[in-house]
Amino acid sequence: MTGPVKVRITYCTECGYESYTLDLAGALMREFGERLSSIEIIPWEGGTFDVRVGDALVHSMERDGGFPENSSVIAAVRGALGGTTSS
């Protein structure tokens, strides 16, 4: 495993994205547990739904459109953790 990995989810509070945010956060909790250093949820505005794994922006609603598949974020986290398999 590489160093600790932090995930940040930035979501638009005025867009009703809470359920997507919590669903993704829950999927990451279940998949990685204590292997993540933290999952940070940032309430924001302007139609934002961005996901950053470590320093890498793995999904941006403005850049990529729509919401990410949980599986794609999980794969990005797994890569950041050094390719370890799920527990």
Binding site: T10, C15, G16, I42, W44, E45, L57
Partner: protein, 209 residues
């Protein structure tokens, strides 16, 4: 152009029923109502043409909280608009008729119908383009005045918490400072529809309904 009839229209909530049923943002909604100012000329213009208005809304949406109160005040002060509000996520038959760019479920939607023929006379979606442009310009000014906020298209999650909080406060103040102008533009665009001078309001460049 959307279709509507009395049976479907009557299934919606009245404006007051919707307001009472809100599960969030009700205080902000009422505060926005209290800021709406109509001239007597506006009121007279709306009284000249009674209309039924189908509204698609959700109480988590900022544009609904900002713009539906404007329509509600117009209806109350003129007595000429009969509103029925439908929850977007439970009304796909209606939402599908008013998709922004044919795919986005942008709200609010205000669809105006002649009360006798049920012919649609106009549609307002989301917010006026002029409001979007005004706030984008104000936003650029904020970033220009505060280099610590980074670039306008920068990643806010990379900002320190205290800087991000100051940016959030500055953006909220800007929205508050521009509310009266935004409300006036919403009134102007809805009035243009009521007077038959326009058939589109709100995000007109985007709407392909």
């Amino acid at each position: 152009m959307g279709t509507m009839d009395k049976t479907r229209f009557d299934q919606g909530m009245t404006y007051h029923q919707y307001k009472a049923a809100m599960t969030r943002n009700q205080e902000k909604f009422i505060a926005n109502e209290e800021r709406v100012r109509l001239s007597q000329d506006d009121v007279n213009a709306f009284r000249a043409r009674p209309l039924n208005v189908m509204v698609l809304a959700e109480d988590w949406c900022g544009d609904v909280i900002a713009n539906l109160p404007v329509l509600g005040v117009i209806a109350m002060e003129s007595g000429a608009l009969d509103l029925r509000v439908f929850a977007r996520d439970q009304s796909s038959d209606l939402m599908d008729q008013y998709l922004n760019q044919g795919k986005y479920k942008s709200i609010p939607v205000f669809a105006f119908f002649d009360p006798s023929s049920w012919k649609e006379v106009g549609v307002f979606i989301e917010r006026p383009d002029a409001v979007t442009e005004m706030r984008a310009a104000k936003r650029r000014e904020i970033f220009a005045a505060h280099p610590e906020f980074g670039p306008p298209d920068g990643a806010v999650d990379q900002l320190p918490d205290d800087v991000r909080a100051r940016l959030s406060a500055a953006l909220q103040k800007m929205r508050d400072d521009t509310t009266d102008q935004a409300n006036a533009e919403v009134v102007r665009e809805i009035r243009a529809i009521a007077e038959g001078k326009a058939t589109r309001g709100g995000a007109r460049q985007l709407a392909q309904v």
